[in-house]
Symmetry: C3
Amino acid sequence: MRIITLLTDFGLKDGNAAILKGIILQISPNAQIVDISHVIQPQNILEAALILFHAGIHFPPDTIHIIVVDPGVGTMRRPIAAKIGTQYFVCPDNGVLTMFLNRADDKKDIQCIHLTNSQYWLPEISHVFHGRDIFAPVAAHISMGIKLKELGKPVFDLINIDIPTPQKSLNAIRGMILHIDHFGNIITNISKSHLEEIDRAKLLIKICGIELKGLFNTFGDSCNGEIIALLGSPNYLMVSMVNGNAARTLGGTVGQPVEVFY
Amino acid sequence: MRIITLLTDFGLKDGNAAILKGIILQISPNAQIVDISHVIQPQNILEAALILFHAGIHFPPDTIHIIVVDPGVGTMRRPIAAKIGTQYFVCPDNGVLTMFLNRADDKKDIQCIHLTNSQYWLPEISHVFHGRDIFAPVAAHISMGIKLKELGKPVFDLINIDIPTPQKSLNAIRGMILHIDHFGNIITNISKSHLEEIDRAKLLIKICGIELKGLFNTFGDSCNGEIIALLGSPNYLMVSMVNGNAARTLGGTVGQPVEVFY
Amino acid sequence: MRIITLLTDFGLKDGNAAILKGIILQISPNAQIVDISHVIQPQNILEAALILFHAGIHFPPDTIHIIVVDPGVGTMRRPIAAKIGTQYFVCPDNGVLTMFLNRADDKKDIQCIHLTNSQYWLPEISHVFHGRDIFAPVAAHISMGIKLKELGKPVFDLINIDIPTPQKSLNAIRGMILHIDHFGNIITNISKSHLEEIDRAKLLIKICGIELKGLFNTFGDSCNGEIIALLGSPNYLMVSMVNGNAARTLGGTVGQPVEVFY
């Protein structure tokens, strides 16, 4: 039983994720299908890349991830399949794999295919819904044992998107807000590794016009309504409101600057 | 392993779809359960009928679809099970199957049963939640091999709802907006078949007070923010905003008229 | 194939429920995973307790329920696993099991363990995401046959939350609004059992500044837009608007009083 995950911007109303599942189950009746998210902001490739990486790393070897956040559907952008490390990906070539590609230590761990063999697609291909017509059937065929090389031609020039990285100076790190989560936690691109060998109790964090001193371990270490900084679940510097919504309270949005002085 | 799909207006918060799943798995432990949608607008049978058809046709033979959009629950409206072509349906008799019934070429492909045999229901039947008490257990029993004829009495007079169809004149087709999808695409009831033998480049489309000329192939063929017309994924004339929300921008809502001149 | 359910306040966007699923499937590849809800109001333990009970009772024996509504994550609050009757629960010790504990007739039907054996956790434990680090792997190990007693030390003093109960006087029952569901139905804490031996046709219900007379059987027994009282699906007194949203119309919110005179 192979796992196939779905990550899309389809929303929850229209049944489009279910269409992918119906097609997968026609080809691969025992596939174990898992939803990662269907409420990626429409056409937001960066958000999809972050959430894919955040969740994808927790799946078993041989998992196949389908990602359909696809503003270029029907244009010249390439449909691709890839194996990166132990996992498989089927998606448009638009940068959504950037974080997995960056993590691969060795180029030998990366195999990418431009999907050109229409034998593994639906018989009729629309201009507007390649998730249904190409990505779902290809992923299902991979789960049934079809090799990547059967699916098309090797490619070595996948598109990468810019994942913003923080700048370090003598006494400060300057980064930005990368993501606002469901709880309103403000997640920055400053990671635990940037803060190593630094006295965390003495940090001064400037974000959204306020200043915060030091890092807390967890939410319950402070009082309801207080704004605190801590290391979040994927080890990024995060600003939260205890039992509240920090992003709404502070007006934090993706892309705003954050500075850490030490 | 039989597939059972769920399409409801239950929403996502209250755990009611999970109740159906718990009951199904008690009776049919190996059922493969797939959600189509749980955010149908409350009591909107037309929306449920459209999404059921749009998604349902992509599922394998012998799939069992449970549909619970049921404003008449607890009244005289009949609970039914049906086989239409190769697929099964368990739902209230309120018109939600209209599009599948319309598609069946041959009345011989349709078998309908008024669910009267309470042996396949939960022991206690409420007035307000037949999804739990009747539809889920009946679908689970079908997945375990119970024949439709065991479940009740044949019926031949299922309720149909009016699926609005466009009117064609000498130089125009007059239709309406059928659905607004998650992306804000405006989907009309004018299909590809209505536009055959017509020069698509010369079409003039009037909708929401604006005029659009010609059909595009796909979103990426135009610029961000532009409003375009194209054929959508189930081959209906669709009006979209490239990387934007056409319905919100134009004020489009279900039922508004659309005219195509050629 | 063991069933594992998930009930969280994670929301649907960030992929955090999928992280739990990836970890479960690494340990227990054939687990049947069912979502109960991921849109519990953040940190609302009472809401989680109600929805867990409402849905959980419909699952088969040996189902394992993971509940992650966890404002105390990373503090001294205990992570626990429990068997209550025929079902298993893995969650923080914060009262979310109260309704299941209350229902257990016999203390012998309850077995609770403080999770202290880190052998069944992820290798690294964060301060902010025990759903991923502790609860998901522990539930997966239970599904693979690990006994509760292997997981830690027995405890007998689980935290209970106050589930508000109505007060009965000579001619009235005074309760409160317990839950507003997706349809806007107003669900009170006055149950069918409180109304036994009472003439339901003569009831007078005061709620949100209005008065309602008698109970209806179901929605379709009245006209569109009318406000009615009836017994809801888990047999609680419920106030609904036929094909409308009663809570929005009446301004009903959780905690407001309701009075029933007889």
